[in-house]
């Protein structure tokens, strides 16, 4: 899993009094992953999680969330294919009426499993690539997976799934956007997500090595626009700009507790897949029902509405549009999750973002990246 779902139709900001359904349910089935990507948003201390939810726990989560109105289901991780019960979970989710998205590295997706998942009712597969070349893909994921992913891409099409190709962009691969798009065209992808890295988890740890320069970003946007004009309606291409380059923050998660519900491998329920870092008590599905968690738990109600806001957000006319931006980014950069997202140029902490962008203007030549690869050993060492 690399990006939050970007194109669910927005609804009005939730307040505790008017809680709508958790339309988007993301299940991070496991933190185990054969890849070790440097831009992973998973928590850097993921190796401390050892007790994953059981099949029955996940099945109960699916039923309870569906009863609340959840309809888009993401199955992610880590690598969800490492769960041997994935087909069981997909079958139940399909029976319940979910639209089921599998977010995968492709590792472990062979002919047998892809056919079994289709029979179980899987709707779509999002396959991640780290780059258009074997060398960079394999370097960035710290594995040898490029050939295998290419085979999986062919399997996905062969079995009639719509295919979303997801490539997380950053300083080390953003100059390859033309090649990445050409690769997507060769693979007959239906959707391509060029998602610039969001700086949480491992990506934040590696931020100064990953943040592109403004020139790189503008070139990539231009190349993408040209490709879109040429390809027409055959493929939909999403380009997610890194918010560090914006002057106004993103309406993150459409406001916490508004439409997104994430369950982590150990059962912690979060209003955003990055929210585990926040200094709040988040409920666990082992101890409480999804209905109480979504509607009544203090962790989910904390950032609903706007009573929690400080200045400059509190009196800002845009607070109903961007909800003050991202709580995790505010916490990560300023130490207070109730501050304005420092991406906003009205934030007194905006310089923290512009300083990072300024550092990214250094020349690219002869850069030897020293990155933290997301593996259990590094996780234990830095947390």
């Amino acid at each position: 899993m690399s990006t939050p779902p970007a194109h669910v139709a927005p609804t009005a900001a939730a307040s505790p009094a008017t809680v709508g359904p958790p339309l988007w349910l993301l299940l991070e089935l496991t933190y185990r992953c054969p890849l070790h990507c440097v831009f992973c948003y998973n928590p850097t201390n993921f190796a401390q999680t050892t007790d994953e939810l059981s099949t029955d726990d996940w099945l109960r989560v699916l039923r309870e969330a569906r009863a609340l109105g959840a309809v888009q289901l993401g199955l992610s991780g880590g690598e969800p294919l490492l769960r041997g019960d994935l087909e069981i979970l997909v079958a139940e989710a399909h029976e319940l009426g979910f639209y089921i998205n599998l977010v995968t590295s492709g590792v472990g997706l062979n002919e047998t499993r892809i056919a079994a998942l289709k029979r179980a009712g899987l709707d779509h597969i999002q396959l991640s690539f780290q780059d258009s070349t074997r060398e960079m893909n394999d370097f960035l994921s710290s594995t040898k997976t490029f050939e295998l992913k290419s085979k999986v891409a062919a399997l996905i099409k062969q079995h009639g799934y719509p295919m979303v190709l997801n490539v997380v962009l950053h300083r080390l691969n953003i100059d390859h956007v033309a090649e990445i798009l050409a690769m997507a065209e060769r693979m007959h992808a239906d959707y391509v997500e060029l998602a610039n890295t969001q700086y949480y988890g491992w990506a934040f740890k590696n931020r100064d090595k990953l943040l592109p320069s403004r020139v790189q970003l503008e070139r990539a946007e231009r190349v993408t626009a040209e490709f879109r004009a040429r390809i027409g309606g055959k493929m939909r291409v999403f380009f997610v700009v890194p918010d560090y380059f914006e002057a106004r923050p993103k309406p993150c998660m459409n406001g916490l507790g508004s439409i997104f519900l994430t369950i982590t491998p150990d059962g912690t329920a979060l209003p955003c897949h990055a929210a585990k870092m926040l200094p709040l008590e988040f409920p666990n599905v082992r101890a409480a029902g999804v209905d109480w968690i979504w509607r009544d738990s203090p962790g989910f109600n904390h950032f609903r509405g706007d009573a929690w806001m400080k200045e400059p957000c509190r009196s800002c006319p845009e607070k109903t549009k961007d909800f003050g931006g991202c709580r995790c980014q505010a916490y990560l950069l300023t130490g207070d999750a109730a501050n304005a997202d420092p991406v906003c140029d009205l934030s007194p902490h905006h310089h923290l973002v512009t300083d990072a962008v300024a550092r990214a203007e250094r020349p690219l030549v002869e850069e030897k990246p020293l990155l933290f690869f997301r593996d259990a050993k590094t996780s234990r060492a830095i947390s």
Binding site: A9, L23, L68, Q72, H124, Q126
Partner: protein, 96 residues
């Protein structure tokens, strides 16, 4: 491709586009179109039109059915305009 399908023949048999799924959501009291990582919440007239697009009935038959169901006449212009829009978004397709 977008916006070019301004016409749809009365004899065409529209169906929900490949990769899209139409379903009624009780929690939203609305029909929704589901697709990879996305959802469109439909208003009631859009829902009534799309749920009749089964690839078997023609545009003419669908218009007649809607007029009967809602005791209205002269719906053809609005219905075909919406269908043309839905085609441009790939929500609908015409299978030859």
């Amino acid at each position: 491709m977008m916006g070019t399908e301004s016409h749809i023949a009365a004899s065409a048999r529209p169906a929900i586009g490949g990769g899209f799924r139409l379903q009624w959501e009780p929690a939203q009291q609305a029909h929704v179109l589901l697709y990879p990582e996305g959802m469109v919440k439909l208003n009631s007239s859009a829902g009534e039109i799309l749920k009749r697009c089964d690839g078997a009935r023609t545009v003419l038959e669908i218009v007649a059915d809607l007029e009967t169901a809602f005791g209205a006449t002269g719906l053809a212009t609005d219905v075909t305009a919406f269908m043309a829009f839905a085609l441009s978004k790939n929500w609908l397709e015409i299978r030859e």
